[in-house]
Amino acid sequence: MKEIRFHGRGGQGIVRAAHIIVHAVVENGGYAQFVPFFGVERKGSPVYGFLRISEEEIHLKTQVYRPELLVILDETLLDVPDTFAGFLKGGTVLVNTGRDPEELVLPGEPARVAVVNSTLIALEETKRDIPNTAMLGAFCRVTGWADWQIVKKLISESFGPENTAAAERAYSQVRIQHRGDINA
């Protein structure tokens, strides 16, 4: 079972993006689950969410405490200590940033650091500052845990062609830096 934690800010579309991943995995015959952040939702406040993906039924009904993947939609959250709480050694960090992965000083000894400028892509492709669909493209490329063709179809149905273009561009532009053994 894969455990993933999303970090972002209210208004960045974490919940709808995670729904698309769950939907894609279920459509492909697998099991997935998303537990949203239970807080007071305000635009701009830090939010998070918990995603699980498995080939078998998922019984757990709790938040994720030992993620092997962190998906970070707002890079200012990299400096918040809680962002890396419980992060597994050998895991992967996917960040929405304009910086190179080599520039990022991160705690938690990730095996892979992936970067993509989802905010820029979203602004150019959709004219809106909502990076969630671009992050879905990067997520599919980096993890392979959800079927890319199904995810693209679901983005197109839910958000239209501009967002599909954003996801495709992020899929091709995401950069991955290897720092150690995966899941060491």
């Binding site: 729904h19 939907h23 009904k61």
Partner: protein
């Protein structure tokens, strides 16, 4: 059969839609709101042929349903917490009028202090208002129990309203795989509702609910309790009938998980049960003979089923997501203890109440593993032990 990825709230709405209700009353409250919102959407899109009334309060929601149910309609609404509190007067009357209304409760704390988050205090607080109450573990069970609920509630031998209680946010907003039954399957499983006795019919007028003297009221209560008792059997039968048509069984009143040779056990209710299954599996893999008892029905209370399934266990704990203010423990514990009173189990095992997950806090896998450790440590003792709080310091105290 189609597999969907949906929240618990949408699952409740789709279960309702498959049951083809005549009338839905809609009033929003967190975390339930998307149940009635989704039903309004289905009606607006022409996918559901039901009437929906956008009432001005929960009190009106339940009042509208009581009228519609008396007139022979299949009815539905959903609520949480303060909304349930506001509808208490017609809520009680619907059960004592023996009207088979179905109402999910997306469980949430009661104020004060102000909270919108998960806790079963709302549903537990109304367990003496005469409704049948089932507490469910996952989104599939929400949908299945809405459908089974109509079958049970509308049975001429039962005629009682029913709550499908599911944890706010931990299920209401959790997205997971749910298998959607075919409409034709549900239609054949669920016959149309027919109002037999008290009914509002202009062609056949009768007085309903006049001022009633005590000796007759007493007969009302005896009849109500007898229907609750019959429901104990009917729940099990409907679970088997449902399994035959839809391929899913939940074990009826209680479900035992790995209880066959269990020495220690957790008794759980609601979504924490899923996490507890993992905790039991981990304990088993470490050689601990642990098992799980999932209590599904709080009303009627499955006293005999609980006594039977716990018989032979040496140490156990009941985990509640709400409190009983009079007993310094949880309400499921109070009732379980009443159920085992005088039995060998009460004499020959140790047991205690554990309270956790209040106000939206998480009942984590680590907390339940710690709880199992504490229960295992009590194996050589007998009788009731002190209540345990699964708070942030619990794991430190267990070590």
């Amino acid at each position: 059969m189609k597999a969907l990825a949906i929240t618990g709230n949408i699952s409740a709405a789709l279960g309702c839609s498959l049951a083809r209700p005549d009338l839905i009353a809609a009033y929003p409250i967190t975390p339930q709101s998307s149940v009635v919102e989704h039903l309004a959407l289905l009606i607006a899109e022409g996918k559901l042929d039901s009437r929906i009334v956008h009432v001005e309060s929960e009190h009106s929601a339940m009042s509208v349903l009581s009228g519609a149910s008396l007139a022979g309609g299949r009815t539905f609404t959903a609520t949480s917490s303060q909304g349930l509190a506001l509808m208490y007067e017609p809520y009680f009357r619907v059960s004592t009028l023996r009207l088979p209304v179905i109402m999910p409760i997306a469980c949430r704390e009661m104020t004060s202090p102000s909270s919108i988050w998960c806790g079963q205090q709302d549903a537990m607080s109304v367990r003496e208002a005469g409704w049948i109450q089932v507490y469910v573990e996952n989104n599939q069970e929400i949908l299945d129990m809405v459908i089974q609920g109509y079958k049970l509630a509308e049975d001429p031998d039962i005629l009682l309203p029913m709550n499908i209680c599911y944890d706010g946010f931990y299920l209401s907003h959790l997205v997971e795989r749910v298998e959607l039954p075919e409409q034709s399957q549900v239609d054949s499983f669920l016959p149309p509702f027919k109002q037999y006795d008290a009914k509002l019919d202009p062609d056949d007028p009768m007085a309903v609910d006049p001022l009633t003297e005590g000796s007759i009221l007493m007969q009302y209560r005896m009849s109500h309790l007898a229907a609750m008792k019959r429901a104990l059997t009917r729940v099990e039968e409907i679970d088997r009938e449902y399994a035959q048509v839809f391929g899913r069984s939940y074990g009826g009143l209680v479900e035992g998980y790995r209880m066959e040779d269990a020495e220690i056990a957790l008794v759980t209710i609601g979504s924490m049960t899923g996490t507890a299954r993992e905790a039991i599996d981990q304990a088993r893999s470490n050689g601990v003979r642990a098992g799980l008892v999932k209590v599904r029905f709080m009303r009627p209370f499955p006293a005999e089923a609980l006594r039977n399934i716990l018989a032979g266990v040496k140490a156990w704990a009941v985990v509640d997501r709400s409190v009983s203010f009079g007993w310094n423990c949880g309400p499921l514990f109070v009732e379980t203890e009443a159920a085992i009173c005088g039995s060998d189990l009460a004499r020959n095992s140790s047991y205690f109440s554990a309270i956790g997950g209040l106000g939206g806090t998480d009942i984590t896998l680590d907390l339940l593993l710690g709880l199992l450790k504490k229960v295992t440590g009590n194996k050589r003792q007998n009788g009731k032990m002190e209540t345990v709080w699964l708070d942030e310091n619990f794991l430190g105290r267990v070590e």
